[in-house]
Amino acid sequence: MPSAIGEPLDRVDGRAKVTGGAVYSAENNLPGMTYAVMVTSTIAKGRVASIDSAAARRAPGIIAVLTHESKLKLAKSPDDISPDSAADRRLQLLQNDRVLYAGQPVAVVVAETLEAAQEGARLAQVRYGPETPSVSVDASLAGAFIPERLSGAGDPGRSSRGDVQAGMSQASTRLEQVYTTPFQVHNPMEPHATVAVWDGPDGLTLYDATQGIFGARKRVAGLLGLAVENVRVLSPYVGGGFGSKGPTWSHVLLCAMAAREVRRPVKLVLARPQMFGPIGCRSETRQSIAIGAKPDGTLTALKNDVVTHTSSFDDFVEPASTPTRKLYSVPNNSTTQRVVRSDIGTPSYMRAPGEAPGTFALEVAMDELAYALTMDPLALRLKNYAEQDEDGQKPWSAKSLRECYRMGAERFGWAKRSPEPGSMRDGHTLIGWGLGTAMYPARRSPASARARLNRDGSIQVEAGTQEIGGGTYTTMTQIAADGIGVEPSRVIFRLGDTQFPPTPVSGGSMTTASTGSAVYLAARALRDTIIQRAVVDRNSLLYGAKPAQIAFENGRLSRSDRPGQMETIQHFAAGLGEPYIEAIVNAAPGQEKEEFSPMSFGAQFAEVRVDADLGQVFVSRMVGAFGAGRIINAKTARSNFMGGMVWGVSFALYEHAVYDERLGRIVNNNLAEYHVPVNADIGDIDVIWVDEADHHVDPIGAKGIGEIGITGSAAAVANAVFHATGKRVRDLPITLDKLL
């Protein structure tokens, strides 16, 4: 039977999305709905001296103005976070007068209409007792600390093998440089949005734009003192999250608290400027890299000392040092991470946390080293290819990077590259080619799924999980179809409801490996149940066969020893005595991570065209070649890789949340001035992948592809800019003024 897995199946939810049939959180309109607007702080540090809400309360349609003086009750402190919930953040829920960052909620106005609530929020007069904020690395460097653990996988704050000093002294070529990446803000198209509806004092339903319905349920239940099972979170469609919708941020709780106060359903949607501050960002990174190499390019030492920001009240450490630990074979290696406390909203996970900025610095440094050695940048990478994870001292679960380099270079035409910077010119245009290596860990968490055969022959598969744009409805449908032995069109997959079996957050590129494995195992279990029932059913043509003799393909059960004897699943289902039969599976990773280092890799190639006089950069061509385990859907996978690569262009050339350091405020807090690429900025993007069989990661061999596309791509662009212009820009983004 042709496998559904791997096919470029059209998105099963595509029609609903393009016709408006897919209902996103903010589109839920309930009887008696009210509208909440947050008033957010315009200072970055200090206290709320007073809030004069009289004018706001007098305005038409205003129902409530909630402030810290409203003394809204919580079951526990919003600073009380669970150590086993990596996504829990300390929240600002109107419990006191302290202002910790610009954009912090300081009041919530609830009104009969959105417009009335907006006007009420404008009329609420907040007076502050401001203090001088600090948002720059330099201002806070003296107080920097080395964290015990990095965010994400919880890797240690420092690492070391060999003796870097000794390694540097053995080198004939040494390079020491500092690379910086700026504050970035996720900016999914769909703003964060919550609709809260109480069912009596003890029951709450949230329609929430979240990447983790179960995490949201637990956090909300804990803070509001509700039983977890009395909180239902629904999130059937999410318009992008990129990490920003992983944690449960303050607005979710404020929405629920407001609904409890006004005793009506409340809708709270963040305005775009409110998405710069209270819902996470990617910290600025400063990476000081030192590399030493022998004349043949063999690395003797590699070091990266990283500084990032966290907030003044919570800990998040962008794990930017991890690529330096693992990507290359080098006997002497050390990294440290230091963190400065700044008066900003807590940074958070953003597509490929750590690897995105980490591969930028490392892969630009490797490019610089290649020029210093007069060596082809690709040859230098191959020279130092890591055959195992030298940091974890484990074999890779599977590694296809060599093949990625080969395929990518061939597709791109790398061999035709003229090595000298500035040597490829077309009139006013300088052309450059660059390379960067992509890497991202393959992760897996416990997950559950239910597969059900109904009497009408339909198959319904459910798992909590979320669809954040990656194509989860479609990929899970394919996995379930293959697991059972039916066509994908027969499977209805449902997600985004805490009443479905529990699953992890849609983050860390682990949905397919985690939830996909559970769906697969549930589907297999349902298949086995069907077969076992069929062979003992006297009315079945399969009666008396051994289960192992039954083939189950294309919705037909047949005896492999007597091919003519078959039964359709439709017929089987119609004979069921009960309305349905089902299988529920709780799947979890085993010991594989103890034995192997699960990692995906890739090779990114970029061509830029730079205006020699005006400095404008256009990425005319990219090739990304990836080895990321089994690819479930060739179409959605291509889109996902491509989205990551586009973000790499954005990372290299455009994105920069600019702080006015005097005020501690982000000045360009809108999509006109916080630049991401538009269509006109993106040239040809070619995505290819290695047919990689990884037998160690999980039952379906999938490693996850949501994040790897952004890794290595910014370096490829930056290296291409150097090749075009001879100018090495180490501080992103590469705006045209840096090339004049």
């Binding site: 006089d613 005006l614 900025d681």
Partner: protein, 329 residues
């Protein structure tokens, strides 16, 4: 957004009378700037007078040039054969601006009225903006000022006019026709906009209650040698760091006979110095002449912490635009 009254007159006289009878009214064209400013609370008109139904939406030949009604949409102007054939620099400038959706909404008259751009002006929660709150100070001068002016600014305001179309109109010596309570009058584009001086809250010389009715392009038979260059941080939907509208006419032996050019992204208004253009007359198009005119235009340039690059970028942009315009002349 503050509640407001809405009126939709059908004649210009009615529009002007409606304005006179309500204090704090604003005319509404495409709304692509005004509505944003209202959402931010920067503009709080008592009444919006929707003038999009006024009979001001035609493009016609007029006095040897063309007359563009104030309510013609930007996209219509850019695609109009008369504009494309005779004034290509205007068509190019409009197409370089905003996005197709915004150009479909924006009107010629409304586009002339877009406010200068500055983060500290657009967000009323910043305390110091002389444009928004006269006398309150300027957060931009010592703040983040990458997009800001290098020419003609004052210690009160360093905001820039973000327009593209207006830069081309300035280079073409367009004339703005207005109708007010005292009847019709007209102003050259150069007299329409203002530098900030001590009154940065006022962007144009339009008098209260005056309505832009049309923009007249003069007969310039050599305007086909035109080029609009927009240098920006991305290829669409970004304001100009620097833009240049250049119109060049050559004589029979290839020397520059006439030249008019205006700069965008450098000042509170499109920047033009007619005296500077004279240095080009009689010159052979080339880097020497282009550099001379750039230096003349940049006289008195004063950059700030984040926009020092604009000075050199102006030189290079002028050379590129004049080279392109000369090639087409």
């Amino acid at each position: 957004m503050k509640a407001f009254a809405y009126a939709r007159p059908s004649t210009t006289d009615e529009a002007i009378a409606t304005f006179s009878s309500s204090s704090g009214a604003k005319f509404l064209g495409g709304g692509t700037n005004l509505i944003d400013l209202m959402k931010m609370g920067v503009e709080q008109p008592s009444t919006l007078i929707d003038i999009t139904r006024l009979p001001l939406a035609t493009i016609e030949e007029h006095a040897g040039g063309i007359r563009i009604g104030a309510m013609v949409r930007n996209s219509t102007v850019a695609e109009h054969p008369l504009v494309r054939d005779r004034y290509p620099v205007l068509s190019q400038a409009i197409l370089a601006g905003a996005s197709p959706q915004l150009r479909n909404m924006a009107t010629i008259g409304g586009n002339l009225m877009q406010r200068t751009r500055c983060s500290y002006f657009y967000d009323p929660t910043y305390a110091h903006c002389n444009k928004r709150l006269p006398g309150s100070g300027c957060d931009a001068i010592d703040g983040y000022n990458r997009m800001h002016a290098i020419l003609g600014a004052s210690d009160q305001c360093i905001a820039t006019n973000p327009g593209d179309m207006a830069v081309a109109l300035m280079a073409l010596d367009a004339r703005i026709q207005v109708l007010g309570p005292q009847g019709p009058r007209s102003r050259l584009a150069g007299d329409f906009f203002r530098l900030p001086g001590d009154t940065p809250n006022i962007d144009t010389n339009l008098r209260p209650g005056e309505l832009i009715t049309a923009v007249d392009l003069p007969p310039i038979d050599w305007a086909t040698g035109g080029h609009y260059l927009k240098v920006r941080d991305r290829n669409s939907y970004a304001f100009a760091l620097i833009s240049v509208a250049a119109v060049v006419g050559l004589d029979s032996n290839g020397s520059i006979r006439r030249a008019q050019l205006a700069l965008g992204g450098v000042a509170h208004m499109p920047w033009r110095v007619p005296d500077a253009e004279r240095v080009l007359i009689g010159q052979t198009p080339g880097d020497g002449a282009f550099r001379d005119v750039a230096e003349a235009l940049l006289k008195g340039a004063k950059p700030y912490a984040h926009n020092r690059f604009k000075v050199e970028l102006v030189r290079r942009s002028i050379a590129r635009a004049l080279e392109a315009a000369s090639t087409r002349a």
